[in-house]
Amino acid sequence: MLPFFTEQFGNPANLYSLGAEAAQAVEQARASVAGLVGAKPEEIYFTAGGTESNNWALLGTAWAYQEKGCHLITSAIEHHAVLEPLNFLEKQGYQVTRVPVDSKGVVDPEEVRRALRPDTILVSIMHANNEIGTIQPIAEIGEICHEAGVLFHVDAVQTVGKLPVNVQELKVDMLSASAHKFYGPKGVGFLYLRSQARIGRLLHGGGQERKRRAGTVNVPGVVGMARALELAAGRMAEDAQKERQLRDRLWQGMQENIEAIYLNGGLEQRLPSNLNVRVAGIEGEAMILMLDMEGICVSSGSACTSGSLDPSHVLLAIGIPAEEAHGSLRLTLGRGNTEEDVDYFLSVFPRVVARLREMSPVWCARCVTKQRNS
């Protein structure tokens, strides 16, 4: 990736030889990414990341197929980069059905089938959820969409590079991915678009990306993304196994050391790197700040972090009451984490919980003991 910032700085759209070198690097990256997700190179479009890919897939499809209909289907737990463009489309007169998920955080494919209408033009369901890591039955939903002749988009930002993602096996027509989620550079991603599908333009301008996405391609970014995906594919099983072991050790330790702590979402159908828990009687941001003081970086599903009063829409969708959702914490393990990290967390976290519970007007240790004994 680095030479494309310095020596090989040519614009791939130009005719001079430096441009040709850059263009060749971009096409190599395209072929590599395509091969790793089971697509043809001409079905891969480079973008500025997951948000652009999702916006383009949803808006571009809505515009390209408006003569067919104005109905789109999604789930209640999508990322904001899907929910917001759909809210935008609703304001323009499109109709959106948001199918629910069960208490484990999984979409029932039959709910998607029931939501289909003659004027449905697109179904968009995420592969794995960004907050609770739950993995959706994408291939089954894809089958239902294909039978009905409806296009199927998948936001796979959480899974590309982490789980095997093959667009043929998953039966998807469009798929969004983002490089930084698999240790690539930030601000670059791609959209897979099946050759037969039409799409309207989101960015108008020059004729880059086969006249579908105007703008000079981020050459260092796409070269870095392709390399990161090659590396991730080579060590996917190994990384996943290690993350799962650490995650299970973490969850085991938390349950043993802290009372009234609960898992958000099911554990089985879940990204191996994800843990999302809620702790009774305390609030998420306070936990984050205290853990940060101890050198531990985590995030929450709590309102305070997003600057909104509402707790996470994902936690509410799996049936967790607002007052409990505020006390949630999302822990993500990565390649760099070790057993020592997990043990360090487990040595710090019970203290943090105890301190915040001492301060809490709603935590009552005796009540919990009483409940448990009864």
């Binding site: 009687g281 305390i282 609030e283 998420g284 941001e285 306070a286 700040l289 003081m293 709590s302 309102a303 305070c304 600057g307 909104s308 009063l309 707790p311 009451p321 607002a322 007052e323 505020h326 001492e358 301060m359 809490s360 007007p361 709603v362 935590w363």
Partner: protein, 129 residues
Amino acid sequence: MYSEQVMEHFRNPRNVGVIENADGVGEVGNPVCGDMMRIYIKVEDNVIKDIKFQTLGCGAAVASSSMMTEMAKGKTLEEALKITNDMVAEALGGLPPAKLHCSNLAADGLRAAIEDYLARHAAETGSKT
């Protein structure tokens, strides 16, 4: 995101806890919103002799509770009633805009505790006469 004063009060909150047999107790906020405070006061000769708080909430909620207790301790009830949420936020070197309406409740909690004290006091005085 937070000022140094906020982080300092969050790290070392003053006057955390419960006053048994408090003269006044005030409760504001709601766990559904994610922020809730309970304020306890001990009043002698119209002066707040002791004050403690329990808070469920984010960093701003804890820090503003702690700062408010420092501001109120030793004040007469009339002086204490003049403390506003904005004054608490200002003493903390400001709060992020999103926190100003959801987590900055400490002065409301103090007012609720004083009102509780005054209501009890009036009832006691009333029953004596």
